[in-house]
Amino acid sequence: MVETFYEVMRRQGITRRSFLKYCSLTAASLGLGPAFVPRIAHAMETKPRTPVLWLHGLECTCCSESFIRSAHPLAKDAVLSMISLDYDDTIMTAAGHQAEAILDEVMTKYKGNYILAVEGNPPLNQDGMSCIIGGKPFVDQLKRVAKDCKAIISWGSCASWGCVQAAKPNPTQATPVHKVITDKPIIKVPGCPPIAEVMTAVITYMLTFDRLPELDRQGRPKMFYGQRIHDKCYRRPHFDAGQFAEAWDDDGARRGYCLYKMGCKGPTTYNACSTVRWNDGVSFPIQSGHGCIGCSEDGFWDKGGFYERVTGIKQFGIEANADKIGGVAVGVVGAAVVAHAAVSAIKQSRRQQGDASEQNK
């Protein structure tokens, strides 16, 4: 059952002769001496493919849908050659007890050496009964599989932040993975869904270098989430020039002006959409004429309108934005100042009259 990289290459029709040539070429291109050729071959023959267990909690499968559209590398290469995707209840052939048996098998055989990928998140209310996998709450499965894993990849905004199922009032108490599993390294790959190439690249990086990619303070890989969409947006010149679309059907929109005034969240969203783009680099939302909705940011579903630059604030009970609140505060204080000034003026004139009459006496 433990399949090495050598075995995968053989399975794909590569002869041993070609394999050894490949090893010598690799050594040569890395500037290593002939003595390293057998060592590379040995490593390829003995290093097992890393097993990945892909669990699905409360989710919409948009992460999987995105993943299978990866072009560089192709999703099939990632799944069939690079990793050993041993469990993924959405796309695996096995079902029922057979499927669940694989989990136990991998967990014991590769204890501490498998990667756990989580799509979706566990709901904690009602004893976790809002998401049942194989007759048991998902949160139990998550905790059980996470116990012996090497690292966790939190696919998408659900696993990373909570996403739509965690929107207020969050009746099922859908909870992001890092708040349930606290003792394992977690790589957050947020987005609803995340970009396909970002997903496969994170896996590729972990397999190639045998370590986690460098993460930012919120646990996202810096190489994809280090810059805002705004920083690399092709409409940025229109932003700096002050050229904005003011309505979806105005001239500015037709000319492809900046969508900032239409509530584009590019300036507050960390993701690689404007560089990597979607569907094999074809396009991304802003290129298609719609503003970014900030789907890879924490709590994007509860931050007011997608089409407002100054977004609404709900903390005050009523929906209002900062300008409305500020305007009301300035109005109230302004009225108070005017009223106070009027009373002060009356008092002052009376006092002066009093002083004058005292002097007259």
């Binding site: 700096d240 020039a241 507050t268 940011e297 630059r309 900062a322 106070h340």
Partner: protein, 238 residues
């Protein structure tokens, strides 16, 4: 009635105090530079949230929004430099230069004075008192409605600036790295920064009104003091 400290000054001078040097030159300079910076920041900041109408022509022919943002960031740097200088001056300046940073909440006499001032503003007291520096109510307002919001605006402002300046910039390392995760995401920082602007606008309204009103109705100079540095008293009564 003079406060205890002012009485000491009066005794030291050996005569009735008619004028006291309160605001030293660096402090006055800071006040006006800061006022100008805040004016620029509030105006450009509002336009950053609600940009002016779209510019015609080619994108390369215009840099309007870039200039608005540049003015905002430049004024932000001026504000920060001024603020650092102001904190420094609190250490080397006179007694009054420290008042902005203090809130003597455990001083019962201070609270009594503050209550008196509140009554004066509610027209419940007939005669105002004399104060050399800020009266306690003014000090309270300065601390809560000006010093803290200003600090908040500097921290959130440079956190947002650090996002554009990119990871690795000083603003990003010093502010963005912890402020944005603390708020959850960048949009929240924008919203709070926007609210902070309105808080400071409210402060400016109250501040200007109170200064002019006190200048007319109280027993000491106000507006001219921030120009000349001298607090003049209008009468010899204690």
């Amino acid at each position: 009635m003079l406060s205890a400290q002012d009485m000491q000054e009066a005794v030291a001078h050996g005569r009735q105090v008619r004028a006291v040097y309160v605001y030293e030159a660096p402090l006055r300079l800071w006040h006006w530079v800061n006022a100008l910076a805040i004016t620029v920041l509030a105006m450009t900041g509002y336009f950053i949230g609600s940009p002016p109408p779209s510019q015609p022509g080619e994108a390369s022919a215009s840099f309007l929004f870039g200039y608005i943002r540049f003015a905002h960031f430049a004024a932000g740097y001026v504000l920060l430099a001024g603020f650092i200088g102001r904190v420094y001056w609190a250490f080397v300046g006179n007694e009054h230069s420290r008042q902005l940073f203090k809130l003597p909440v455990f001083d019962s006499a201070w609270w009594k004075e503050a209550a008196f001032e509140l009554r004066w503003y509610l027209f419940l007291e007939r005669h105002p008192k004399k104060y050399v520096g800020h009266n306690p109510l003014a000090q309270f307002t300065m601390f809560l409605l000006f010093f803290l919001p200003l600090l908040f605006m500097i921290v959130t402002g440079f956190a947002l600036y650090g996002e554009g300046a990119q990871a690795g910039s000083w603003a990003s390392m010093l502010f963005t790295s912890w402020v944005v995760p603390m708020f959850g995401q960048s949009q929240d920082v924008h919203t709070w920064h926007h609210l902070g602007m309105w808080a400071i606008v409210v402060f400016v309204m109250v501040h200007v009104y109170a200064a002019i009103r006190e200048d007319i109705m109280s027993r000491q100079s106000m507006v001219s003091t921030m120009l000349s540095g001298w607090r003049m008293f209008k009468d010899d009564k204690p």
